[in-house]
Amino acid sequence: MNQTTSSPLQRGFWEATGGRRGIGAWIFSTDHKRIGLLYFYSTLLFFCVGALLGLALRLELFSPGADFFTPQQYNALFTLHGVVMIFLFIIPGIPAAFGNLVMPIQIGAEDVAFPRLNLLSWWLYAIGAILALTSLFTAGGAPDTGWTFYVPFSVRTTTNVSLATVAVFIIGFSGILTGLNFLVTIHRMRAPGMTWWRIPLFTWSLYATAWVQVLATPVLGITVLLIFAERIVGSGLFDPTRGGDPIMYQHLFWIYSHPAVYIMILPGMGVITDIIPVFARKPVFGYKAIAISSLAIAGAGSVVWAHHMTTSGMSDTAVLVFSLLTFLVAIPSAVKVFNWVATLYKGSISLDPPLLFALSFIFLFSIGGLTGLVLGAAATDVHVHDTYFVVGHFHFVMFGGTGFAYIAAMHYWLPKIYGRMYNRKAAVWGWALMTFGFIVLYMSMMIVGMEGMPRRYYDYLPKFTFWNQLSTIGSWILACGLIVIFVNIFRGLFRGKPAGDNPWGGASLEWQTSSPPPLENFDYEPEVTHGPYDFKRGCP
């Protein structure tokens, strides 16, 4: 990360190493921007790891039968793919990386409320990640339970599930601390004049997310601890032969893991909400509606968990209640989508890379969300549950949604942090390849899922071959797109032209300070006199 020392542009917080040298200036720094970058590079690393595993899954599924991996290896692969993507990439991805990078600047603070706690969060994350990787190579072999760790299988299997649960516990704890830190920061550290209704919507989305992190993640903690206890001390709380109930495990798991999907998407939505008005040069449509819908999603999203359990054997009353609630969460999401589109109306739209990714986000997330409605309806969920339709759904929302938002955020904010700009044309090419490959890859999955192909299958009936092959081909196109994107952006950040303080003409506070920002973000105490999307007064 120190390649930049040769750069003539070297300025701002990059120079303030706090008296430490080399790697120590990073892994012991309490500066929110440095911690943000630590998170950024770690989540990016795990994204690449996870993506390569995903590529391997698709390779195996190119034709029926066990071609490249044994069934056991395949099971370990998708477990690892899921765990890495969920716990190491997508949950910390936007909030911990970009949240740390820009949220304090957006509200005019010099850092987060508890800088040392912030550093501890990253350390816990790193320790958890290392433990998770250790679990692959020790004792019984790589865990093979799927990222859901369903009992009784996860208690019976001889693979190294215990260590993996400890890793998940620690990573969860790291997320809790980040959320807690952000809540206090947003409540206590706003600059003078930064009233609640002047907070940029990205920060609003982080605020809602942080609540979910703080209140839902502990339930994950106890859930994985229970698996651990079940395996180590034999506390048969989920073991039917000892009076336990395996379905209760699923309740506990989803009490966290459903809200977790909103931990994943809300910050992504926030990124999109901040990008669209800037490139349309027009105030965001329905500011308050969007802010409130973030809170509504966080709140309502916490009570829909059992829609993952429609066929599990839980009571029909629960199916009724949770299906109804599931549909209610769709409404605030719909409000956001409509507001985004309305913001474009009568604007002055400049199709720069961040906006392109934002538009893809709207399209892909809408597909993902609308297929979520198919899953939410009880009758149809019975057919598609645990098939590739679900796999298609969640890749659309997680990758098409959050993943694209992450990449949009890279194109939007990294020039600010590095002070340099990437090549626009290459970014557009990468975007086109990615979006096209994405649709081929995951649309095929949805279709083959509707035809009845179950998930977590290393092998399938020949009648499913066509769509699987198409899907695999899509994964290669997507891979090309991603490589173009990454090569381009990093070449730009390290060797590109200076970006200037406000390359996009944004009106929120992060664009008012220099690029890269100085150590405590502003050379002066910022006074906020207008809203974050007030381009008339806000930009030069």
Binding site: L215, V303, S315, T317, V321
Partner: protein, 96 residues
Amino acid sequence: MSEHGDKGHIVPYATLVIVWAALLTLTILTVAVSRIDLGILNIWAALGIACSKSVLVISFFMHMKYENRLFKLFLMIALITLATFIGFTFFDVMYR
């Protein structure tokens, strides 16, 4: 809020000791009540007493009574969340 302005209310020893005595009394009460067979009411009585004890601890020992509205709001959010987690699980187990 100025530096020292919100450093907090000083709760006198007397108040604390009275609260402690009340807590002890409630503990004895809850044991006593549990010896009477009230059927399903037993568990609710136990929970009711435990809740009143919590209110005492939170308000006085933990100074919640003297904190500003934000703290109380936060507390409500957390408790409501816990209650819904427990309550909504019963849509399944009660009707299975």
